[in-house]
């Protein structure tokens, strides 16, 4: 049985099909979940994709967190299910309180669309379980509000609990402590600004996202959340 990954579609999401394609290419089953769905069905993992959910009105993710599906995502996360928020999905997770901190406008006020070097800093998460610590991956970023910030107390906690899972090798957006991705205290909820699903084939310029997505599929296959 292939692992089933649910990809949530909000009005304004635009990376959901990239995520679906990447999952299928690696042998997983991918299903689109509409934001008004109250249930996730029998998925083994959830991806909140990139885009501009609800037009990024108010703040990115601020309105998406009230979509009915987010209750189900919250319950799934609380039960230990793997949840990955990519780019706008990361913003949704912080607004929903499933991950700490916030993402503000890039230092330099530029929309950044480029490929960056990303260092894997922690491997005990659903997205990095099959990658060695210290591995440097080339993954695209595509954001205006990717500048991660949090209180000094939260930052200390993230560091001491080994919850900073990706750092930029060359910080492009002003994120505190070069943070590109973090995980929850339970380690099953992951948010990152770079797009591993866009680095899923050599023809796309990089296939460095593949080990990350393989990690997710392996974790999902062993996920016991019903």
């Amino acid at each position: 049985m292939p692992a089933v990954v649910g990809v949530v579609v909000f009005p304004g999401s635009n990376c959901e099909l990239d995520a679906v394609e990447a999952v299928r290419q690696l042998g997983g089953e991918a299903r689109l979940l509409w934001h008004r769905d109250a249930s996730l069905g029998d998925v083994d993992a959830v991806v909140l994709p990139g885009g501009f959910a609800h037009g990024d009105y108010l703040r990115p993710g601020a309105i998406a967190r009230f979509s009915p599906v987010m209750n189900a995502v919250g319950e799934f996360a609380a039960a230990g299910g793997p949840v990955v928020g990519i780019c706008n999905g990361f913003q949704v997770l912080t607004e929903a309180g499933l991950l700490p901190g916030a993402l503000q406008k890039n230092a330099g006020l530029k929309f950044l669309c480029t490929t960056v070097a990303l260092r894997v800093e922690a491997t005990t998460t659903p997205l990095t379980s099959e990658v060695e610590e210290g591995t440097v991956l080339r993954i695209p970023i595509n954001h205006f509000e990717g500048n991660y910030t949090c209180s000094p107390e939260t930052l200390a906690e993230l560091r001491s609990d080994d919850r900073i899972i990706f750092r930029y090798v060359d910080n492009p957006n002003g994120s505190v402590d070069d943070i590109a991705g973090i995980c929850s205290a339970g380690r099953n909820v992951v948010g990152l600004m770079p797009h591993p699903e866009r680095a899923s084939h050599p023809l796309l310029g990089s296939s460095d996202g593949v080990p990350l997505l393989r990690s997710l599929l392996a974790t999902a296959a062993n996920s016991a959340v019903v």
Partner: protein, 88 residues
Amino acid sequence: MLFSVLVETRPRAGVADPEGQTIERSLPALGFDGVSGVRVGKVFRFTLEAADAASAQAEVDDMCQRFLTNPVIEDVEFTVTAAEGAAV
């Protein structure tokens, strides 16, 4: 009772405001010298129906904390005044 509400948000002290900094750097080019401390925020104006001023204040405070602002990066101030023409 009807109340007029004005909510103002701004980046929290200590949180970088690249938009404000860029505007501040641009002003001298137009001859506006001596400007400092530019912070860019948002303003919300709306009308609220509530039993009395205290409950209107409490409701606005709640919506600010839970929705209108992100307390991690934004500070907020608001004023609640009896709307003109409202029956008292």
